[in-house]
């Protein structure tokens, strides 16, 4: 049975799976913005590199004869680590030297890093799609005309676990507290003995590692990636972050899911080619009507 109700539900589920991926990327934007007030344009590229790293490492492990399950887990973790380090290196080389410079300088530097990474992957890996090395089961759970594929379920599960883990990390641990302190007031935090530089590096590491997870899972979901995917996904995730209120961690999660669902519904009912227009329309509408986001609070700018 596929009535209109089931079709709607199916679109919502597809949207949630993609939205969970947006949310994971959006977390990186939001965490970095929360601490150093920089829109890290290179973050979309970090996500793309995470997907590439995952596929390359997985292929290598499979070629070495590792069993599929282990290879998947190892590739997953290795791509998180590697991509996280890329994030740390980016901060260290392109952003940290510009602290205290004019506001435009880090933004332009970030844009430069983004182009650099895109070209770096293009030149080292070629322009053709990178294919996920294993054909994963296309089966899933189905009921009442609505189908949830195993991969969609895995995406939702992993994203939920990671978000819960991140929330616990930020709320409960020493490093998490240091992060929140630095986000409130980096100068004061540094005076109270918080090593702000390490906290910023850690923020980039976590954000980039989460983006790598997103990349790896999207590669599983679609079976391939391309060096250009970072640009548009990065933009979408940014929209998600703004939607939830930039700098706000739960906001980024909600924003990602909302954006995924809205986009999926728009693609289903309006037409696929205008999907991106819908996302940007949301961005502009949110920025104009409620710039603090759905879950943010408005503060007057300090004079």
């Amino acid at each position: 049975m596929t009535g209109p109700g089931a079709q709607l539900l199916q679109q919502v589920i597809n949207g949630l799976a993609v939205g969970a991926v947006y949310a994971l990327i959006a977390l990186g934007y939001t965490m970095v913005y929360g601490i150093i007030e920089l829109i890290n344009f290179a973050h979309g590229e970090i996500y793309m590199m995470g997907a590439y790293a995952g596929i390359i490492i997985l292929s290598a492990l499979l070629a070495l004869g590792a069993p599929l399950g282990w290879a998947l887990i190892m590739a997953f973790l290795a791509s998180m680590l590697l991509t996280g380090l890329y994030g740390v290196a980016t901060e260290r080389l392109a952003y940290r030297p510009l602290r205290g410079a004019s506001r435009l300088a880090p933004l332009i530097s970030a844009l430069g890093m983004s182009i650099f990474f895109q070209q770096y992957v293009l030149l080292s890996q070629g322009a053709r799609d990178k294919i996920f090395p294993v054909e994963l089961s296309s089966g899933g759970f189905a009921a009442a005309g609505v189908k949830v594929s195993y991969i969609q379920a895995a995406i939702l599960l992993v994203a939920t676990i990671l978000m819960a883990g991140l929330t616990a990390f930020v709320q409960r641990t020493r490093m998490g507290r240091a992060m929140r302190a630095s986000a409130q007031d980096p100068c004061m935090a540094s005076l109270s003995g918080v090593p702000v530089n390490s906290v910023i590096a850690m923020t980039f590491f976590i954000g980039s590692a989460l983006a790598a997870v997103a990349g790896f899972m999207i590669a599983m979901y679609y079976g391939k990636v391309n060096y250009l995917v970072g640009y548009i996904a990065g933009l979408k995730a940014f929209v998600a972050a703004v939607l939830g209120g930039i700098g706000n961690i739960p906001g980024a999660m909600v924003g990602g899911l909302v954006l995924g669902v809205v986009e999926s519904l728009a693609a289903g009912y309006i037409g696929g080619e205008y999907k991106d227009v819908v996302a940007f329309g949301i961005l502009i509408a949110v920025l104009i009507a409620r710039p603090e986001g759905l879950m943010g609070t408005r503060l007057p700018e300090k004079v």
Partner: protein
């Protein structure tokens, strides 16, 4: 396996950055830290380990992407560079190339009569070149002029007013499509369309600016980026008006008093005239009350507003003027190519123009032209390694911000610089 030198080049640049940074960073920073991260940072700072550690670090980062052989060579290059940097000196900032620096002093010391007539002489000289150079070079020079128009426009909003606009190609596209559509559908001529295209783009700028200019600078960057994408997607899909991805063919070339433009020389002369007028006009604007208010706004928006500068209105003005120049460049582009398609107005085009402005010197009118000319002729010089062009552009933007944020030809008096010395 053969390693292309252009893979190594970027790594040298990155390492230069790294080394210069670690020289500057404060060594006495508290190492009594709580986590692995702190200890790792301390470890990386220790000079005995720094060189091999960073070599290993970059080698590992590059390994999955570049393969074992290239990654090893990269690591080796890192090692050599860092060891060399311990013994040698690493430049802390990029100075002007000798020739250019000397040329600037030369011009600065000329008597006023000579400096005021120098630009005219230069234009006359370039116009004379049009009769000597071969058609191919003239064609490249014309493209350089189009980019100069775009860079001059973007410089108004990014350089002078300090608003990062990332979707500038949209205005370029509006101008180009305005001419293509008005010409093929309604038979309007080039000269009529030049102000119409500019004006239409300015109107677009105004419409985009009105709701978004209250936003903080970094939001604005993203919104303009999104706007650029929306424009391109619309051009791609609005088949009845734009003929979709196939573009519009058969645009008429410009003509003047019955004389039709059909040689690269004609186009070059026209483009040169447009650029010359723009430089003249924008130079005036830069030194006027309006230009001053823009720079004040860029430096400190709150203070500018408190001093009686209507910041919102001035932002709109910057936006629409910049868009106007983008539109004019677009009309000219359509008149030269005789064909337009959405792909000419994508994000990379916006980035390229931004790169020209940054390289030339944000806020500097001659800088914008210089940046456009340099980056337009660069691919011609670097034949055979063109695919590394964008890589180099990205890197150049990062390096310029780090070492010479004011560009090759910084704006007079006001230099875009860090407010305080960079900290570690």
């Amino acid at each position: 396996m053969q390693v292309h030198p252009f893979i190594l080049l970027p790594s040298y640049f990155i390492l230069g950055l790294l080394k210069a940074h670690s020289l500057l960073s404060n060594r006495s920073e508290g190492t009594k830290t709580m986590s692995m991260m702190g200890r790792l940072a301390a470890f990386a700072k220790d000079n005995r380990f720094a060189a091999p550690a960073s070599a290993l670090f970059f080698g590992l980062l590059a390994l999955p992407f570049m393969g074992l052989a290239r990654a090893s060579i990269l690591a080796l290059a890192v090692l050599i560079f860092r060891l060399a940097a311990i013994f040698g000196r690493v430049p802390q900032g990029l100075r002007l190339p000798h020739g250019l620096g000397r040329a600037k002093t030369f011009f600065a010391n000329l008597p006023p009569a000579a400096t005021s007539s120098a630009p005219l002489l230069l234009v006359a000289l370039l116009a004379g070149m049009a009769f000597i150079l071969d058609p191919y070079t003239l064609d490249v020079a014309t493209t350089a002029c189009i980019y100069a128009l775009l860079a001059l426009g973007l410089n108004i909003v990014v350089g002078m007013a300090g608003l990062l606009v990332l979707g500038f190609a949209a205005f370029y596209g509006v101008g180009a499509y305005a001419y293509a559509i008005l010409n093929t559908h309604y038979g309007l001529g080039f000269w009529t369309c030049l102000p119409i295209g500019g004006g239409l783009a300015a109107l677009f700028g105004l419409l985009l600016g009105l709701p978004t200019l209250r936003l903080r600078g970094d939001y604005l960057a993203i919104v303009t980026l999104g706007f650029g994408e929306i424009t391109r997607i619309t051009l791609n899909n609005w088949d009845s008006l734009t003929n979709g991805p196939n573009g519009i063919l058969g645009v008429a070339p410009p003509s003047l008093f019955g004389f039709s433009f059909d040689h690269p020389r004609h186009y070059f002369l026209l483009a040169l005239a447009l650029v010359s007028i723009s430089v003249f006009v924008l130079n005036r604007l830069d030194k006027s009350r309006i230009g001053r208010a823009w720079v004040a706004m860029r430096e400190d928006e709150t203070a500018a507003e408190a001093m009686g500068v209507p910041t919102l209105r001035l932002k709109l003005l910057a936006f629409s003027l910049a868009a106007f120049w983008g539109g004019v460049a677009g009309v000219f582009f359509a008149g030269k190519q005789l064909f337009v398609s959405p792909e000419s107005f994508n994000f990379l085009e916006s980035v390229m123009v931004l790169c020209m402005v940054v390289l030339g010197g944000m806020g500097s009118v001659p800088g914008a032209v210089l940046g456009a000319v340099l980056l337009s002729f660069l691919p011609e010089v670097l034949r055979g390694v063109e695919e590394y062009r964008l890589l180099a552009f990205g890197l150049a933007m990062v390096l310029m911000m780090r070492y010479r944020p004011s560009g090759i030809w910084p704006e007079a008096h006001r230099v875009l610089e860090s407010r305080e010395a960079p900290r570690g």
